[in-house]
Symmetry: C2
Subunit: 129 residues, 2 copies
């Protein structure tokens, strides 16, 4: 793949690195537009796909409909609040033993896994459903 520099791509990457909440493409678009008012939504999507392909960011599928993006490319645990739908990291070592255990019960080859915890975030834990 033959990449050329672009300030739009740089702005997208920089914004993503500044955030820990794994924004959606549209949130990135809105944010980056403050410095680049003419940036197109298509440009955001294309660059997110490019950055993912190059391995500089990762795409998360934490809740179905809209993809989220993360500048931390390590495989780590996530949390989704069932009340406010916010997404956060869980700062905890990946337990690779779970893959090993699953392998005992599976006929193919298991390389890794993703896990997403659910419940109430610290802001929502006092609220009623």
């Amino acid at each position: 793949m033959n990449l050329k520099y672009s300030k739009q791509r740089e702005a997208i990457k920089a914004f993503l690195m500044s955030r820990k909440d794994h924004p959606t493409a549209d949130q990135i678009y809105t944010a980056v537009r403050e410095d680049h008012p003419n940036i197109s939504l298509g440009t955001v999507y294309r660059n997110l796909a490019l950055l993912e392909e190059v391995g500089e960011i990762q795409r998360l599928h934490v809740n179905g409909n809209t993809d989220r993006f993360d500048a931390d490319v390590s495989n780590h645990y996530h949390f989704v609040c069932d009340s406010c739908s916010c997404v956060q990291d869980i700062p905890m070592e990946m337990q690779v033993s779970l893959s090993a255990e699953a392998q005992k019960h599976f006929n193919g080859v298991i390389d890794y896994y993703n896990a997403c915890f659910h419940g109430r975030c610290s802001d929502c834990k006092e609220l009623q459903y």
Copy 2:
């Protein structure tokens, strides 16, 4: 919620119970249409949402874009093949200790988690990428 019987809903549920590969709404639509040629895609979506709400099926978000459906409503592990994209169950006890461990590193309340293993299914494990 006040449900009335419908043969379409029954057909959807019956089909889903006969399958272990967690089909998409469109796959369900195509399959059920063999016995109910006039069924509408909207009817499939509406009944899947109803069945989910009533707790007779569950919706899976294993890989971003399209939802999958599972007549087994227990929380269990899934596997997605990175080669053919097939989805399977991993017949293994849920390790709730993972939630307990995550809770130590998280300020909110963790109720449960979903995990999705990745790798090569038994049909694909010999293939090259």
